[in-house]
């Protein structure tokens, strides 16, 4: 166990490095896999000093569900925002700032939440508060800021909290 910790200080990072190496080479042959495996051992242990703590996933299976939800939301929101841009006069839109108080505490989870909010068209995460307890989000068209806040908290933050904490 201790040896495994020493060889793989960041198991997810190692797996990701192996995957990216295979994708870069555009092949999954034995040559690529062996050299990618060597890289995925050397790189994390060489940089382990700059990454003292590792992110913990409590329930990694739920990541798949989260990704499906996000991709579906991206498609739906794209259609909605395209309609807003094409068929609404610009002065009838209500661009608005929304402040979202966060229940998440791990930095990785907050980063993923902010990235998800930005990738979904219609909302862009702009800033976090100085101690990281609230997220500033800009909405393209929000008559009801409370509804936007509740939807983000219920749809994304609840799932991320199950995955990470």
């Amino acid at each position: 166990m201790k040896l495994a910790r020493r060889v793989f200080p960041h198991p997810y990072l190692s797996a990701l490095l192996l995957l990216v190496w295979c994708l870069l080479n555009n092949s999954f042959s034995l040559n690529t896999l062996v050299f990618g495996f060597i890289l995925s051992i050397v790189t994390p242990s060489a940089t382990a000093n700059s990454w003292p703590d590792r992110p913990r996933l409590k329930r990694p299976v739920l990541v798949v569900e989260y990704m499906v939800v996000v991709i579906w939301d991206i498609i739906v929101a794209n259609v909605i925002v395209a309609g807003l841009i094409l068929f609404r006069r610009t002065d009838s839109l209500r661009p608005n700032w929304v402040s979202i108080p966060l229940d998440l505490r791990t930095p990785e989870a907050i980063t993923i939440l902010a990235g998800t909010i930005t990738l979904t068209p219609g909302t862009v995460s702009a800033d976090v508060s100085c101690d990281g307890h609230a997220l500033l989000v800009h909405c393209l068209n929000a008559e009801d800021t409370d509804a936007v806040r509740d939807e983000i908290k219920d749809r994304y933050e609840r799932r991320l909290k199950e995955i990470f904490e």
Binding site: V20, C22, N78, I85, V124, D127, C130, L136
Partner: protein, 125 residues
């Protein structure tokens, strides 16, 4: 079967093109600087994403060889798009916004990117 996937590829290419052009049109049409920030996220997600998925399906189903470079570009774009958007938004807040323009940062005292507070921290000089 290849016939069917040809239609899939063509459909996703057309959808991607439409969403790409709508994103850039929004960049011209919208008049609020923060609203314009929403345009590139549209062009990235369904625009480029659609083209890359079409290219992958095209290589696999029509030309019969596996090509996974597209997946790498998609992952890279989806990782970097929020970061660039966040940087541009931060620059906008830093230059144009005051604490009155933004909503209350409920549990904390202030937003991290505001101008007058930044002058207080020693490393800003």
């Amino acid at each position: 079967m290849a016939e069917f996937f040809q239609y899939v590829v063509a459909a996703s290419l057309v959808i991607a093109g439409i969403f790409g052009i709508v994103g850039s049109f929004g960049l011209i049409k919208l008049n609020d600087p923060m609203s314009r920030l929403h345009a590139p996220t549209k062009a990235t997600t369904l625009g480029v994403g659609g083209v890359l998925i079409a290219s992958m399906v095209h290589a696999l189903m029509v030309e019969h060889h596996l090509s996974v470079h597209e997946l790498l570009i998609t992952i890279f774009l989806f990782l970097t798009a929020p970061i660039t958007a966040n940087f541009i938004a931060k620059a906008h807040i830093h230059r144009h916004c005051t604490a009155e323009d933004l909503p209350d940062p409920a549990p904390d005292a202030r937003w991290a990117g505001l101008t007058e507070e930044e002058a207080d921290t020693p490393d800003a000089q």
